[in-house]
Amino acid sequence: MDSDNRAEADDGFTIVVEGLERIYPGGLRAVDGVDLAVSAGEIYGFLGPNGAGKSTTVRILTTLLRPTGGHARIAGYDVVKQASQVRRSIGVALQEAALDPLMTGRELLQLQGALHGIRRAEAKQRAEELLERVDLVAAADRLLNTYSGGMRRRLDLAMALVHRPSVLFLDEPTTGLDPVSRSSLWTELRKLNDEGTTIFLTTQYLEEAEQLADRVGIIDHGKLVAEGTPQELGRLVGEPGLYVKLIDESQSDSARELLSVHGAVSDRTAGGLTIRTALGARAIAPIVRTLDEAQIEVDAVEVEEPTLDDVFLAVTGHRAEEVDGEETP
């Protein structure tokens, strides 16, 4: 059965995870019954703080770690029983771009080609194509210890693409990158997805998941606590917010009292208030009028779309950055 037929056997899903568990010796339950399914051609964002279970899940799905319970199939192949076929179907870029600093970019790409059974001449040609694609031609013969973080990430991505995988696993691909490098990597990932590659992306950056992912799964303490499109998840937060910034911060108590008729009011840092109201942007005019009548001057009013950070708070009861700890013992 070829990869397409196998995917059909999984109802068109390229990644199918059922009741996945990983309990480390000592009892740490890093992944605790995760179920998810990713369609062919989808970008799935796997979001969670450090220690939530993201990397352990990716290590299981990329055959680097055995699950202690549950099942997972990638492109129709079981990650335990058919690990070799899974490895042929996937490209992997793990955390922190583990690259040998004493090799050049070109050598690493050619080595990766050989590891996937590509003949030497073809591996050389493929390396050239990929160096061009990730804009590293000029640096191709430099040792990796002279590359910047962004260049290493781009090379890491290129290495994951050497054998033209149908599924790409990226574990925190932009952690530690500056905004320009991050944006350039996002562009490349969108391009890859447009070409049909299914992407499973872990991230602790909410913005990254919002920017890239068709659907997002939120993992916390090893459990998948929410899943959906960024818009669907946004609705979990409840009513949209309006942020009102006052010119005179000493009037915020009076303003809070007056605005409570429009919705639930909460304080914000930077001298402003947030009003949650079902009316959303339509509440701006009445709010400004109420404050104007009380001679409270308004500096700015902004509509606050719910972010994944808000979603995370809503579904877990804590902010993403509040959880910390080692994911693996």
Partner: protein
């Protein structure tokens, strides 16, 4: 698996082993901290031993090999290959700690190919070491009666010694995954070396060392090199050296593959 599929798989794994061996050789030769112990240190010791203890060849029981440097160069080759094997273990531990090992494990290749690629790369380093050390010994006045054949046999034994040492280094690295532990194993190289007749004939070792040297397979490899270089069965059996060398390679590489399997199963 059909014979065609088997042939194709073997060809693929052959390409993988060659690529990993090339990487091992290239990267090790670029690493300054590797060149020092594997090439310079043995040469320094050769110079010191050859000049400082050359009077030993006047002792009764010391075999007639012309120059003393000709006798001890086999020990120098042994020292270099053992250190190259240790460096192979250090490189594997570095790959594990740095995450590069995961890249290898996520590729569709046999686990044994990862070990064999590193072992083959180290064997090639052993060949380079043997050629260099023998050339230096010749420049220092050694005269090898075994001629070209003796030199070629010695180079082959050096490759076996390096492979066995790489297998041992890989086993420890894969079992522990600790770079710092590997770096602290340097003294054990010298224990292995001095419990073999690397720089003195077995008859001149003290009784304890002589007893240990009987069970140390390196004894037979280093004596095999001498037997080949001087075309003298009295100095050592070449075939005994090959038997000990091949046996050590099979043993240590099997242990390394087993350690690899244990690591990926966890």
């Amino acid at each position: 698996m059909s014979s065609f599929a088997l042939e194709r798989d073997l060809a693929t794994q052959g390409r993988v082993i060659r690529a990993l061996a090339e990487r091992a050789l290239r990267v090790q030769l670029r690493r300054a901290q590797f060149l020092l112990p594997s090439f310079l240190l043995p040469l320094l010791l050769l110079a010191v031993v050859a000049s400082g203890t050359s009077a030993a060849q006047q002792l009764p029981g010391f075999p007639a090999t012309g120059s003393y440097v000709g006798f001890v160069v086999s020990g120098t080759i042994m020292q270099g290959t053992l250190l190259a094997g240790l460096m192979a273990g250090i490189a594997i531990a570095g790959d594990i700690e740095g995450g590069f090992f995961d890249r290898l494990l996520s590729a569709p290749i046999h686990r044994a190919s990862i070990v064999l690629g590193r072992v083959l790369g180290t064997a090639l380093i052993g060949v380079v070491q043997a050629i260099l050390f023998l050339a230096v010994a010749l420049l220092m006045g050694a005269d090898f009666k075994g001629g070209v054949v003796g030199v070629l046999l010695t180079i082959m034994l050096a490759a076996l010694s390096a492979s066995a040492a790489a297998g041992l280094g890989a086993t420890i690295a894969l079992r522990t995954g600790s770079l710092s532990l590997m770096q602290n194993l340097f003294p054990f190289v010298f224990v292995l070396l001095f419990t073999a007749p690397a720089f003195f004939p077995r008859a001149l070792l003290n009784p304890v060392l002589e007893t240990i040297s009987v069970v140390n397979p390196l004894s037979y490899v280093v004596e095999g090199m001498r037997g080949a270089l001087f075309d003298s069965a009295a100095l050592g059996s070449v075939w005994g050296g090959f038997a000990a060398g091949i046996g050590s390679v099979i043993l240590t590489c099997s242990l390394a593959v087993w350690a690899m399997r244990s690591r990926v199963r966890s």
